[in-house]
Structures are given as C-alpha cells and as structure tokens.
Symmetry: C2
DNA sequence: CGCAACATGTAAACGGTTACATGATTCA
DNA sequence: TGAATCATGTAACCGTTTACATGTTGCG
C-alpha cells in the first residue's frame, strides 16, 4: 500500500511519466522502497482513476505525464502524518539465528562472520552513496541525509552485534 | 520462501501438528517471522509432499503429527549455512522521511517525536519478553538471547536516531 | 543504418492476509 | 449442556516479482 504514496511523494516534487518515476525508484528510492516497472505502470493507472493524479496529453513515444492533484497532496499528507508507520515484522537473519542450535559451534561462528562481511559490504555501499550524491540544499538534502544516517547507524549496530554474537557462541 | 524453513526449524526440535506450530509462531517466532493458520496448514501439506516431513497417523480430532525427515534436516542445514541471507529492502519510516519536505518543520519534528514514542513502546515489549521468558539452558537459550539482543540494540539505535533527527529539522 | 534509450503495457505465479467453514473434545 | 480449546481446511484478495510483448525516437 505504500507504493502509491511513494509515487505521490515523487509526483509532489514535479510531474513525471512512468518511465521517469521508474528511474527515481532505481536511483534515490532503491534502498527504501524498490519498485518494478510492472508495478509503477499499474499503480499509475489506479492513481489517475481515483483522482489523486491527472494525466497530461500523450507526448512523443506515447509518453504520458502525470501530475499530482490537490486531492493527491492531501492524501500524501494524511499518510505522512496520520497513518501509523508499520514496522517490518520479518527478519531473515534472526529467524536463522533461532535455529543455529542445529549446527556446530564452529559453523555458528562462521554464520556470524559471514554476517559481518555482508553488513560491511552494505556499509561501503552506503558510504559510496554518501560521497556520490549531489546533496544540493533543498529539503531533500536534509531529509535524504537523515535517511542515510539511519542506514549508517543501522549497519554499525548490526556489525557490532554480529561481532559480539560470534564471541558468545558456546564451545560445544 | 522462509516460512518452510521456519517450520522445518521448529520440527527439527520435536514433531508437531499444525496447531502446535501455530502456537509457536505466535509465541517465540512472532517477532521474527509471523505466520497465519492458513499459511501453516498449506505449507505443511507441501512439506510432506516434497518428502521433507512425514505425517503420522491421525490422532483425536483429526490431529496430524508431522516429523522432519533426514532430507528435511539436510535442507534446513543447507538454508542456514549456504543460502544467502536477504536483507529486507522496504522501510516504511524512511520512505516517509524522504517526503517530509512536503510538511512544515513543526509537523516534521512531530513525526520524529512519534517515532520515538513508538520505538520506546516496542523497546518495553522486548524488555517484557526478556523478563518473562523461561531461558532454560538449551541452545535456544543462547540463540534466543542473541536474537533478543539484536532487538534491544536495534530499538536503542532507532530511538537515538529519531531523537537526533528531531533536533536537526531546519527552522523553515 | 543500427543501437541505445525512451516508453508503455499485460499475464502468470508467488507469498501473504483475511474471512469463511466445519467439526471434535474437554471440563466446569 | 454449553463454552473454551483443539484441530483442520478452503476461497478470495492483494501486493510483488518475473517474464513476455511491442513500438518510437534520437544519435553516432
């Protein structure tokens, strides 16, 4: 259900085509809300149906430009400020940790070592995003930075946890 | 796809019926991999079909007890040690942060204040789990503790981040 | 000319949620 | 006897992924 709000959020900045939105999902939003081509075009049609966006005339190559309506802005605002945030409930790595008792202590330590390597790689990716992003000075500069900071704090926490966990795996 | 492994993991400890498993999903696994009744019974049938479990004779009230097979244990082990862990990609709160530029600074600060309250409530829940759990001394005591520790570190990190973010929201 | 990029759409499959439906057993 | 618990199953729907399918425009 958040996909539609992600799209409204992008359209709140400026009108765009499905193709434009798709690029933004792959660039800026890839780490917080990925979306496929199939999804974007589908939701775009529904959004226009429900009056939250309007479709402009067809441009070259059948390009359709969508713009957010006042109703769409109101709906985006309602989602941001009133709809409860839902925390993601499923956690693949913790599920596996629960069953680590079925493998040997050495293998369990290997599991946590791999976790450290994986999260370190992700940390590097985020540092690269930090460096390569043109931060400008609009609101997105501030809020994009806040989101990135979450990622950096998360990866640090996760790495430290895995390092600690490795040390407390019982010897047989 | 992880549901089947969660079920194999539970069955690796001891044989159980769908009803038994359901209770364990609601108790111990609720915070890492929730599952519905509908899902459990469906997957149980598939698991038996593919030879990863066996069905015992029907007990009272049509109860069917499932046991993991050697093939099932091998598959569980393969998943634990060889299948790459996938990090969850979607993050509701960060998606919203991206669009906070569309509301006023006061409202943005309110957003982070609510985030602090929500995460504090979750932190309290985890502390309650910590207190109320009978930790015993099997492997689940160790690995359950490690998983819980992740939750405590996560909530602490998230709370500190939201507190910090609140202070750096620009004044208009 | 040919290729990359632009541009849109549909269908099948999958995992998960919600709701419906039914019946047996235990115990107060 | 009536309520709570035990116990299983199915159907409809929703959001997401993967794959298929097609056509246009700009540029070297």
């Amino acid at each position: 259900m958040s996909l539609r709000y992600a799209m409204l959020g992008l359209l709140a900045d400026e009108p765009a085509s499905g193709y434009d939105l798709l690029r933004r999902f792959n660039d800026s939003l890839a780490n917080v809300w990925p979306a496929t081509q199939s999804q974007v075009y589908g939701e775009l049609a529904k959004l226009a149906d429900s009056g939250l966006t309007t479709v402009g005339e067809e441009g070259p190559r059948g390009r359709k430009e969508y713009a957010i309506t006042d109703e769409g802005r109101a709906e985006l605002r309602r989602w941001l400020l009133e709809v409860p945030v839902q925390r993601s409930r499923r956690n693949d790595i913790l599920l596996r940790v629960f069953f680590l008792g079925t493998v040997s202590p050495d293998e369990a330590r290997g599991f946590f070592e791999r976790a450290v390597r994986n999260v370190t790689a992700y940390e590097d990716e985020l540092r690269a995003v930090e460096k390569e992003t043109e931060w400008g000075d609009g609101p997105l500069a501030v809020y994009g930075r806040i989101a990135l900071e979450w990622g950096l704090r998360f990866t640090a926490m996760h790495r430290e946890w895995a390092e600690w966990a490795r040390t407390i795996v019982p010897e047989e």
